[in-house]
């Protein structure tokens, strides 16, 4: 392991402990869960950016998706948490891994430590904008959660199918998915003219 990677993963472990401790102190068990999920989410994204191997990045993205599913559980959105795990971890991540396996590794990929200065400037600027937005925005929230014992999946199912709610968007989403997947198959297929020289010369697209 390179020295810069050692420093990165050491700092990440320390940040993990700090986030878990801060969450535990701030809000008890819920805070601990929040700290764990935010470490999974942001740590997964950080490792995804840090690693130069696409496979490692794709697998660390799995931690991000699982952390977000945890957030959904904390926010009482149980159906969404299950959908997140099924669709993102089971579907989209598998698609990205197919992409990784069907394309060559880029051996000239740059190291993050080389662009660290630019990243620090970007992060500070983003944090500054975020602070300004946070202190000027007034969000119309009631700060109270939903009533206990609500069946979320049933509410979402009724919302999808009730004529005065989301039925048009639901049907449109079905059409969009069908068209997009058929189009994806059409685009990705290799034409016969591309295949024949491959067989004759044994390589080269």
């Amino acid at each position: 392991m390179e020295p810069s990677s050692k420093i990165f993963y050491g700092a990440l472990s320390l940040l993990t402990l700090a986030a878990l401790g801060a969450g535990l102190v701030a809000a008890g068990a819920e805070g601990l869960a929040f700290g764990l999920f935010s470490v999974l989410t942001l740590g997964g994204a950080l490792v995804c950016i840090w690693e130069r191997s696409v496979v490692r990045s794709a697998f660390s993205l799995m931690a991000t998706f699982l952390g977000i599913a945890g957030f959904f559980v904390l926010l009482h959105a149980d159906f969404l948490a299950m959908a997140q795990i099924l669709i993102y971890v089971g579907g989209i991540l598998a698609l990205i891994l197919f992409g990784v396996m069907l394309t060559p590794p880029d051996l000239t990929e740059r190291k993050i430590s080389r662009v660290l200065g630019g990243l620090v400037v970007f992060g500070l600027g983003f944090a500054w904008v975020g602070m300004r937005v946070a202190e000027s925005a007034t969000w119309a929230v009631t700060e109270k959660g939903p009533a206990e014992g609500v069946n979320n999946a049933k509410r979402i199912g009724v919302g999808f199918l009730a004529a005065d709610q989301y039925v048009v968007a639901f049907e449109l989403a079905a059409v969009v998915l069908t068209v997009a997947l058929v189009a994806a198959v059409y685009i990705a297929r290799r034409r016969r003219a591309d295949l024949e020289p491959m067989e004759g010369q044994g390589g080269g697209a």
Partner: protein, 100 residues
């Protein structure tokens, strides 16, 4: 935890997604960055829905975002494969021709 904590995590995830898109040279990292950005938006949708007494609208938006993200990933992967066949490279900056 309050709304602000969720919004902060979501903003950080959004920033990391933007970094992944800008810094990396492989087009698959662009895909991953887009997924991070969509997920950041989803956290916001669900958090605001939760802190408004469990309103349904934010969750519905999040579900539709997930549906469209699945369609987007499939089409993007097909485009990535085609770009690789045509240009023999997975760098977005080298795919600069409209014809074969």
């Amino acid at each position: 935890m309050g709304l602000g904590a969720y919004v902060a995590v979501s903003a950080a995830l959004f920033a990391l997604g933007v970094v992944a898109i800008i810094v990396r040279r492989n087009v698959l990292y662009v895909l991953m960055g887009i997924e991070m950005i969509l997920n950041a938006a989803n956290i916001n949708f669900v958090a605001f829905s939760h802190f408004q007494g469990g309103a349904l609208d934010g969750r519905m938006f999040a579900i539709f975002t997930i549906i469209l993200a699945a369609a987007e990933a499939a089409v993007a992967l097909a485009i990535v494969l085609n770009v690789f066949y045509l240009f023999d490279s997975v760098r977005p900056s080298e795919a600069d021709l409209l014809r074969e």
